[in-house]
Symmetry: C2
Subunit: 466 residues, 2 copies
Amino acid sequence: MDATPAPPDVTGTLARFVADSEWRSIPPGIRHEARRALLNWLGCALGGCRDEAVCTALDAMRDFAGPSQATLLGRGERIDAMNAALLNGIASNILDFDDTHLRTVIHPTVPVASALLALAEHRGASGADFLHALVLGIEVECRIGNAVSPAQFDEGWHVTSTCGVFGAAAACGRLLGLDAQRLAWALGLAATQASGITAVHGSMGKSFNMGHAARDGLAAALLAARGFTGGEHCIEAARGFARLFVRRPDLDAPLDRLGTAWELSQVAYKPYPCGIVAHPVIDACIELRAALLQATSNAAGNAAFDAGPVARIELKVHPLVITMMSNAQPATGLQAKLSTAHVAAVALLHGRVGVDAFTDDCVSDPGVTALRGRVALQADAGIAKEAVEATLQMADGTHHHRRVAVATGSLERPLDDRALEEKFRVLAQGVLPAPGAVDALAALAWSIDDAPDVGRLARMSSPTGE
Amino acid sequence: MDATPAPPDVTGTLARFVADSEWRSIPPGIRHEARRALLNWLGCALGGCRDEAVCTALDAMRDFAGPSQATLLGRGERIDAMNAALLNGIASNILDFDDTHLRTVIHPTVPVASALLALAEHRGASGADFLHALVLGIEVECRIGNAVSPAQFDEGWHVTSTCGVFGAAAACGRLLGLDAQRLAWALGLAATQASGITAVHGSMGKSFNMGHAARDGLAAALLAARGFTGGEHCIEAARGFARLFVRRPDLDAPLDRLGTAWELSQVAYKPYPCGIVAHPVIDACIELRAALLQATSNAAGNAAFDAGPVARIELKVHPLVITMMSNAQPATGLQAKLSTAHVAAVALLHGRVGVDAFTDDCVSDPGVTALRGRVALQADAGIAKEAVEATLQMADGTHHHRRVAVATGSLERPLDDRALEEKFRVLAQGVLPAPGAVDALAALAWSIDDAPDVGRLARMSSPTGE
């Protein structure tokens, strides 16, 4: 009844790929990137684990929770693996400090690792099996993302959630040893739970999207493992995931060079804890601040910065910056995550944008508020996503200009291992006060594929020690 | 930046409606319809509670489950309320014997009651508070469905799941006593979990869609109750639920005559346990069988029917029948749910289509298989959804014709209370062997708003008694 050619067997091919993959076929560079992704994710989870969103969700779910199977990272408490996936997913995203698969803007590790580590700790698994499943989950997640990007993101879906559920299902299904048939069902059960909208951004719902993707992907794998059927072509079917979420999916993309090209090689790590689209702006403002300080003969880069003479901060940005982060006067830390004006003001005032830039206190700080009001955003389709043209118009009529072509933390200017570990340390040190605890956890993450039991990674994140 | 007029405040208005509603404002006819919906749903849950899908999902979730808070209907076992919502949602849909909100083709009670009864049993609630919340949940669910119908259904979304999560959130939020602010967050957290695709139909994933909608709606309410924020305009926002799921939502529909017109008045109950679009076909085949038996001078309507002389069964149907139920030769009971040919053959052979028509045995029965192969479906946009033109071409060149204008169980030809209770009894009697148990449960459902503790309804569904 349908004259269009049959779509490629995306679901079945990905399922077979995950079922048949061998650890030795994962290139050393990809294994190392997986360790980097793990360290970055773990740091984000530790930094976010005491956030109000995590505490509130735990309060809500505690009465309904099952046995103590998996650790709430950085908190020491244990809970059933389904709830651990949910809560660690919220915790590891709440700071907006994720890794990013640049083609899709998916933050790949959060939903996959949150589900997988909870399951692995519960069932017992070696670090190598864990890392292998993590690589495969991220691969499936980002490849499915490739089929629906950029349209899905542009329309307002929260792609890390809609695609993350597949990654979590694939990774957990692999760890459970599912055959290709059951992995296909797991992907189908993921497809029929795929959800997450950006209309909740600016609320705790944003990070909840990561949590439910992790929880639902784990559930999909657990159900399929028991023989719960879930369709076999749910990604590519005429009324399946890809065609429902975007009008013209690219169904060849998920299978392109499968097993030879790895999506983890396209992952970058954020130097600033907010939407990646605003990172060029932050770089530019930090550079402009340094230049201004130098111009005023103040040699020390960290010296007090006088924002008074700055009349106007003009930012020519890619249109996506406006779509994603145009809140001009945020009222809360969560809202400030969506405010390019806020991060520009903080970068200019303080020369850095850390986790403390998104506290309610910082958002209502009079100096920040005043400077924020002088930011003028201008969309320019001629500016690349990685770039910005920033101009400070001074009260005396002079101006200072900076063009950033590619932001720090992009694939062209990546955080190296040392910078990534430093990011981890800053996030972890507030949570792990015991001498050597941060060192030990970082060392374990860097050598995770030698660990006989990956659950130790979770337990060592406890503030009171393992 | 956007010249389009602001959309109506759908989320906030529905939240206030649910928060402010008073029991006395619910018309008696709607209260009675809610009791009918409850009885029908309970019967479906009892009939489906031992299905392989329920057993498999329970196997998968048991290790992760929390305290014994709520009853698995018809099974006596107890589990945490989140999992009870999931599993009772699967059980009460698996037979495809639901109620139907005809404008949207939503089966409204399944996700709402599955979540609500689990919560109500856990927290303790009167029957009147339960029934009130059930009415409000169904109202919200179907009104949101009105905004996205028929496009959402036509494109392949499983509308009972995508809209059911809102109904479950609203009902549970009401029972938890949430104010309008928190109800709006609950609706936002529902919106960002809204999911369910029809590509899983023909697998256990279909009924899983009901289960996860119930579970996720309950989670949304529980989270919002603790202060977990979830946006305030997630239904009508530019990048919100309605516009993401369909291109041109009708955002006025959810608020049309709110509080004076009730969606429960538009709900019908299935006389046959399969997709409602095939019900006119079943009616026609049952009538044709009776006519043929009479024509061959066989006075008893239940006499053996000889299908041999039937050369061809021609069915002119609404195009939706082809879209939804065109599987010509199903291999399993679940696949047969999507086969108009199968239900036509069974109706003609046996004069009835009950739960036993969807066993694997019936699907592979040689008599059924042979007759199924003679069914010819023809889409005709001139045929109404409630109608069919059916013609039996006989081997001797004669033919018999029936036109069904409106199927049994439609709003025009509804099941009355007696027929609905009989449907309940048939479904319940296999599960509740104790003398008087079915009577007592039916009586409690009919008078539920007088019950001090609605949890008794769940506990009385146990095969070993309360």
